[in-house]
């Protein structure tokens, strides 16, 4: 059964068109009209195609479902997709995440299908970790570098079958994935637009899914994944997420996504399920201390100056680098870099300040030593948490953050003491619990 659903999903992925023309296949009636009028269909073969990059604002398959939940009309952009910033209020959504089950539409995340005879070998050369150890229906966090050992991007790698993988990243990397594919029998498709994704995070997540028909979801181990048949809809559920909570991500056909969304609300109501937006996703990852590509660090090909690029060691991702396994791009460089002091570190900071601050300087002894790249106010802890980039030599000692604070029409310059966090500020004990709790009274 699982194998069949796998195939069914795979066949709906249109290579090439997938990335740029999400709704190219949505006009079968037009095609039929042309056929009855006996016009050479080749003349109009591309008529329904959108010009590449022509459409700048995209909506996800769940847009209408999500929009129905919005009481703020606050929207933002995520990889070109219209995404809710906040649906009700950030405080309410935060409470749902930490105490019930927060549902989010993460379809805008970038997804690549990587398949073929050499898919495993290809990925093993691409990422710094050991892909050969990944079993079917398992996921692993990955980071991938270019030749100099600078991080190109990071994300999660899922193994869906023998020679069938899915790479999920924050930014697009198709050019680099294709460059790396030389010499390997592998097929790489951007399936971002043809694969919907939902994130359900919170202590009641397993209970909601269980009620919605995901049988034995509680037995799924962290980073485990499995196919489920939910009233005829094939859904791939993985125990993953970037919130530090017990949580799952659900991958399915775009046509089925609104149905599943409705079903989760229907069955999850008693467990306190609620829809949440992008701001919560950001806050949660800041609380756990997960840097986001393009925000907390620049990819190697985005950074014009190598000084702006980062190594996995500088991002705190050293545990994802396996220097003793097979060869991967950047291995020799990373072997040398490991012997050296990192130039900077991406660090988590706690600031005693009541509002989120953005892009301000991190100081020590009056000198600028780094920059805050993302921040958010943690209700649970009552402090402002931030991720920032700090010069390595400055990563000990008393730090402060300089903030320009607006008071009416005056500016007050404040210097706020900052604490370096060595562990995630918040991490749920349920994250690693197997079986996951199914009771709502947790």
């Amino acid at each position: 059964m699982n194998g069949e659903s796998d195939m069914a999903l795979a066949e709906q992925v249109e290579p090439g068109e997938a990335a740029e023309a999400p709704d190219a296949a949505e006009h079968p009636d037009l095609d039929r009209l042309e056929a009855t009028a006996e016009v050479d269909p080749d003349l109009f073969a591309h008529a329904s195609d959108e010009p590449p990059f022509g459409r700048r604002v995209l909506t996800t398959p769940l847009h209408l479902s999500v929009a129905a939940e919005s009481s703020t009309n606050l929207w933002t952009d995520w990889n070109g997709y219209t995404t809710p910033e906040i649906l009700t209020s950030l405080d309410d959504e935060y409470r749902v995440l930490r105490h019930a089950a927060a549902l989010g539409d993460i379809s805008p995340i970038v997804k690549y299908r990587i398949s073929g005879r050499d898919a495993g070998a290809y990925l093993d050369r691409l990422v710094t970790g050991n892909v050969m150890q990944l079993s079917v229906d398992e996921a692993m966090p990955v980071v991938f570098c270019e030749d100099r050992g600078f991080v190109v991007g990071d994300g999660h790698l899922f193994r869906l079958g023998e020679g069938e993988y899915r790479l999920v990243t924050e930014e697009t990397h198709l050019a680099w994935l294709l460059d790396s594919a030389l010499g390997f029998q592998v097929r790489i498709e951007d399936v971002s637009a043809t694969l919907a994704a939902l994130s359900l995070q919170g202590p009641h997540a397993a209970a909601v899914l269980n009620a919605a028909g995901f049988c034995e979801i509680e037995t799924l181990r962290p980073y485990g994944a499995r196919w489920f048949d939910i009233s005829g809809m094939p859904v791939y559920a993985s125990r993953t997420g970037a919130t530090g909570e017990l949580g799952y991500e659900l991958w399915l056909d775009p046509e089925d996504a609104p149905m599943l969304w409705a079903r989760l609300f229907d069955k999850g109501a008693e467990f306190g399920i609620a829809a949440t937006g992008f701001a919560l996703r950001e806050l949660a990852r800041i609380e756990v201390g997960i840097p986001r590509a393009g925000c907390d660090y620049l990819g190697a090909f985005t950074a014009v100056d190598p000084a702006d690029a980062s190594t996995p060691f500088e991002l705190g991702l050293a545990s994802l680098v396996d220097l003793d396994g097979g060869h991967f791009t950047g291995r020799e460089a990373l072997r040398r870099l490991k012997q050296r002091e990192p130039r900077h570190l991406v660090v988590a900071l706690a600031l005693d300040f009541p509002e989120p601050i953005q892009f301000c300087a991190i100081e020590r002894d009056g000198g600028i030593e780094g920059i805050v790249t993302s921040s958010g106010f943690s209700q649970a802890l009552g402090v402002n948490l931030a991720l920032g980039r700090l010069r390595y030599a400055a990563s000990v000692g008393a730090l402060a953050v300089g903030v320009d604070f607006r008071e009416g029409l005056r500016v007050r310059r404040l210097k706020i003491p900052a604490r370096l966090l060595t562990e995630p500020a918040i991490i749920s004990p349920l994250r690693h619990t197997v079986p996951a709790p199914l009771l709502a009274d947790y």
Partner: protein, 526 residues
Amino acid sequence: MQLADRSFDAIVIGGGHNGLVAAAYLAKAGKRVILLEASDHLGGAVTTGEISPDYMVSTAAHLVEAMPRRIEKDLKLARNGLRFAARNVSTVALSRDKRHLTLSSRRQDLAALRQWNAHDATALIAFSDRLKAHAAALRPLLLASAPRSGGASLDAKAAFRSLVWRARRLGQPSLEALLRTLPGSIGDLVDDTFEMPLLRAAFAFDAVRGAAEGPYSPGTALNLIYRRALQHERKGTSLPRGGMGALVEALRRSAEGFGVAIKTGTAAKRIIIENGIAKGVETEAGDFLHAPAILSSVDPRATMLDLVGHAHLDAGLASRLAQASRRGATAKLNLALEGLPTIAGLSPAEYGARLLVLPSLNEFDQAFASFKRGKLPDELAMEVTVPSVVDATLAPIGHHVMSVLIQYVPFDVAGGWAAQRDRLLDRVIGTLSLYAPDIRARIIAGEMLLPPDIEAKFGLEGGEWHGGEMRPDQLLMFRPAPELAQYRTPLKGLYLCGAGNHPGGGVSGRPGQLAAELALSDGRRA
């Protein structure tokens, strides 16, 4: 074969002249060396072949211009049978009006030119001096391995600073001229310098010979300086007695004299890599050879992508290697002739010279435009030698062989080579007849090697002679890629020693020598 289970100090892959030079240097230093050559003869495109029984000619490359005297001495090539039929071969630009122009700075040649065009005679002296000075400024960069580039290294910066310093020592105008010349085209440079079309075309031809760039392509002025700098180590163009194959034969005897085991007909299948270290070579026959040092003189791309394999390389390096351009632009025609064709106006001594058949610079540029579009050029530029004039071993008494390099012949031609081959041949013979009207009647036999033939026969990708085009973006620290420019590879123990590496092609032997010296010094340090 008894190759299996034997280990060596070094394995050299590829028995071209660079492979032989590398193997000989290693063995001379006391190393046990084995050299593997896939085909059944050594030398690759440096070889002498038979056009027809008793008519021998250098099949592809036909002049020794860049091999340093030092390599000849170190490897005792003279003692191993290398003799030169002619040294200091002069260059004569042929003219259709029978007033041929000998290009040299000898007093009598300049006097002749002064009578013809006083301006150009003066300009030629100044131009030659400047060319010499620029080549001398560049030369130190060609004597050692290429400067390292990249953020951490000051190598390249230091190298270029010293280049500028050397040019500056020649005076401010010279520095300005150098900085202006480097990015410029040879066409613009000679247009500014000379009046005579023949003189312009002759220098332009030498800058783009064998290259897939036109006389007005940027960077071609540097080509001329670079080649002069390479040739400086030799002090004159030479013709080996017995053709280019004799050079390879002397290298073989030298290498074997030093103890190199040479295995022809033995192709390397893959280089064995363990944990980022090159451990040995597996041959097509299934033998495993082990050595701490492996030097490959075959194309860097083939070495890295085919023999090592993508899985052992960083993706950026692999894709840069895959993208490097290989456009062959030169065909070769070898003719067996009954008697010496008559070129009116050419003195008997000059038949042994390097003869240039040149269209006007404008037509030459047109020929390049045709080449770019995959068409046969209307006007052909050619380099012609008749080595049998100075080397009686090549043809029966009274008979001759002619060797012709034809510039701007595309790899793929519109209409296909099956249909176009004879048209090109006709055009070549027709053009030669303009200078030597009796040539057609004297042809006994001939062979023409088009770029696809050169690829098939010598394994030179794209029919490109230099193992990677010699253009500014593929020279020095970019040859063949920044990571590979110092003969070392990211794989410990694997070195590149072919023409695809610094300082490049042109039968210099220098990549082989420099790579071998580097491998030896690495070995001492280990």
